[in-house]
Symmetry: C2
Subunit: 521 residues, 2 copies
Amino acid sequence: MDIYLTQGLHRAVQQRPQATATLCAERRQDWRTLADRVARLAAVLRAHGLQPGERVAVLAHNSDHCAEAFLAAWWAGFAVVPLNTRWSAAELLHALRDCDSRLLLADAAFADQAQALAPQVAGLRALLYLGDGPAPAGMARTEDAMARATPLADQRRGGEALAAILYTGGTTGAPKGVMLSHANLWAAVVARLVEMPNPGYTGLLTTPLFHVAGLARMVAQMTLGVTSVIEAQFRPEACLQAIERHGVNDVVLVPSMLQMLLDHPAFDARRLRSLKRIAHGAAPMPRPLLLRAMQALPWVEFVVAYGMTENAAGVSTSGPISWATHERHAAILSSVGRAGLACELRITAPDGRALPAGQVGEICMRGPGVMQGYWRRPEETASVLQGGWLHTGDGGWVDGDGHLFLADRIKDMIISGGENVYSIEVEAVLMQHPDVAQCAVIGVPHAQWGEAVHAVVVPRPGRSPGLQSLRAHCRTQLTGFKCPASMELADALPLSPTGKVLKNRLRARAAAGCAIQEASP
Amino acid sequence: MDIYLTQGLHRAVQQRPQATATLCAERRQDWRTLADRVARLAAVLRAHGLQPGERVAVLAHNSDHCAEAFLAAWWAGFAVVPLNTRWSAAELLHALRDCDSRLLLADAAFADQAQALAPQVAGLRALLYLGDGPAPAGMARTEDAMARATPLADQRRGGEALAAILYTGGTTGAPKGVMLSHANLWAAVVARLVEMPNPGYTGLLTTPLFHVAGLARMVAQMTLGVTSVIEAQFRPEACLQAIERHGVNDVVLVPSMLQMLLDHPAFDARRLRSLKRIAHGAAPMPRPLLLRAMQALPWVEFVVAYGMTENAAGVSTSGPISWATHERHAAILSSVGRAGLACELRITAPDGRALPAGQVGEICMRGPGVMQGYWRRPEETASVLQGGWLHTGDGGWVDGDGHLFLADRIKDMIISGGENVYSIEVEAVLMQHPDVAQCAVIGVPHAQWGEAVHAVVVPRPGRSPGLQSLRAHCRTQLTGFKCPASMELADALPLSPTGKVLKNRLRARAAAGCAIQEASP
């Protein structure tokens, strides 16, 4: 029998009907209430005549109602399309049309935008207001319809059935729809099992539910019977308050969020006594920030996770490390962990050969979390799913104990004079220079070497580092060909909505020759 | 991408190549060695020209070589048929023929029997000697062929592909082959994840690998990187020695095994200091035995599991209970736990309606562990898999917190004068009578009441309880219609190879009217 993502609701209702399922704003819902609301909303969705597997798009901040919409789509046998709330109207319209959305649900923050988009989406049956309070003119409230609805029986559609389409790939070209099945997201639950085995545990959802990390975490908490505290968006003070007020045990943060928490005037470690675990990922964690957080919160275990939308379950995860143990684990603090349960990890050469430990190549993996493919893009699917292996496009290497270290995006790797240069390695050294606040290292075309190492540097306030000073610093730790041959100063680095540096933009700018200092030969 | 049961070997080789994978007799093998041997044995199996999915039968006691044979069959893309070593030649021949076995592997203990069987199995390609030492005449040693073989690449066949056929149902009719896929057995691994999350853990395999409990545990340990100590068969003294010598943390025991351990002259709790957890199941655990074990081993957590071959992942499992906490959990000590992860549990009326908490009905479940069906028996499959639900044939009820309590096999339930009588309830009361060593309660035809309650009693040595004495005892705790209306004394109860009382034999004997005392009206 196939697994279905609403199964955990039935278990929770049978075993702990009155325990807290969700805490959001001032609302507390128990499992019985949540399951009843999901069954009613499922009936509302189905009343619009959708066929099994058709797509229900959601444009909303995180909330209990947003999570209910996802669960209701699954309960009714549909697939959910969680839209990125940071997107432009053009990007949203692309996604809504690309996946043939039949329903669009929007909360108060996005009702206007949704009303502008809806008429442009052919085949859309209805636009529903998922928010609190009165609906804007022209939108029907899901709450009203739910109050009138007869709860639907769970359709228990699962296994290989499509559960979600997550649009990704904003850094180049139009976003592609990653198709994740119930089985894919179940693999994500399994991967998180070891981390939060106990009902009675409380997890904070503050990263967006439209990203795979937030979505997978939400599904895991709902499946395992963990209480979910849901924050609409990440705001440092509200996050601190939520942890303190609800006794949160577990939170996922990207490094910039962790930084904002620690830097906030209201930060006080004593408010975070209930925290047992902070998981981080999505962007490289600067070691000074990690150590600062560990020291400030010595009772918290830190875990890193590495993955991508194309693999719901994540590729690797580390064992927990805390302030007390970090010195013992110093050599692996910059690792992104080891292959997770249900993930076979392999480093491959360009010819597809598996490489031994210690050699850098492309990170490839297979396992039940790997997507079904890109929605209606068989060619792009075939280029990343080869012979059962997901080719991540990330460069990396494993040590003799299977710890994975990231090098670079394969396409960001610099080949200078026939030597491989990993920008991450150079960036880590540059970041130690006292004048450097942020930096990015890219390859730029070079007549003699093929590519040359180029640094884009955001200086610390009031500082203005020069190329020779940076090169002299780099020479103390790097071999000559890895040291930047040219550089430019910038006020900020161009970032994707998830905080990744858009190196293709930097390459374009460098190619245009903006304000570059070059080393003499 | 589909899950495959050899995936854990790749992870273990990448992460802990020199850690101990198996300890068996005097052999210790690390993960690298184990994976290499599996890849070689897979090549040997494939050299016989089998097609993907064809069946490899194994007739052997538990051993590292036996586990390797299972893993090698999966590695090569075949299905394994672990044969019950306690079966008669006729039963073995039925199974070998029924599933079209292409290869038969047998160890030293069963080489003669296998040689007698092999010529009678049409389509069998080869009989291989899986044992140590020289092979009997006419059998090829797998060890010799493995030494010569080039390791095969893992075929990574998984997901819905058939992984194993386990023959079951010895109590009535010819054994049926339960088809378990890779996904089914993976669900069994997931269900055990919470119990043994850590590599570095050591589990003892002493229940037979040809039963679902032993097989699932073996797969889980191999997948999770847990060290497996493997005992050929359960012998109390050897079991005590293995736990002490290898620092075993975890063992599955059926109640009779636990009793034998505690009763053995060599039992000394101090030898079992390393034990963290005893899981029990397969037969009802008498409360006095459980409490005696808890008191003797106060540092051990006891967990009950309830399941059946038709569902590899198990239906329910309890949280751990120890001597220190048993009084707090007194009300649920006789429960078989709550629905496990990935199991939706429901109690149904004969008309298929779901029954509320507190009402007895048939235990039904669905989840990814549920078998694909009975091999080539579509009618019997359809009778137990209805609308996606596995109908277990067991009666039971859940309390308001989802704890499951077993009543009776549905077919063992007695309907007397229109009232339901659960034999388990009557048996529990009879067992408290000072003259009763063992007992079984069945329904026998009765002109007036439809069925009447009949007790088969094995008296304690030197005792000879009479019907009136038993009835008087029962009356103190049971309402009148539940008290036995007739009884017989027996030297022993007929048991299946797994220790279940064969009530159909008792019913046949009672119908023949053997030595029955009947109550006056």
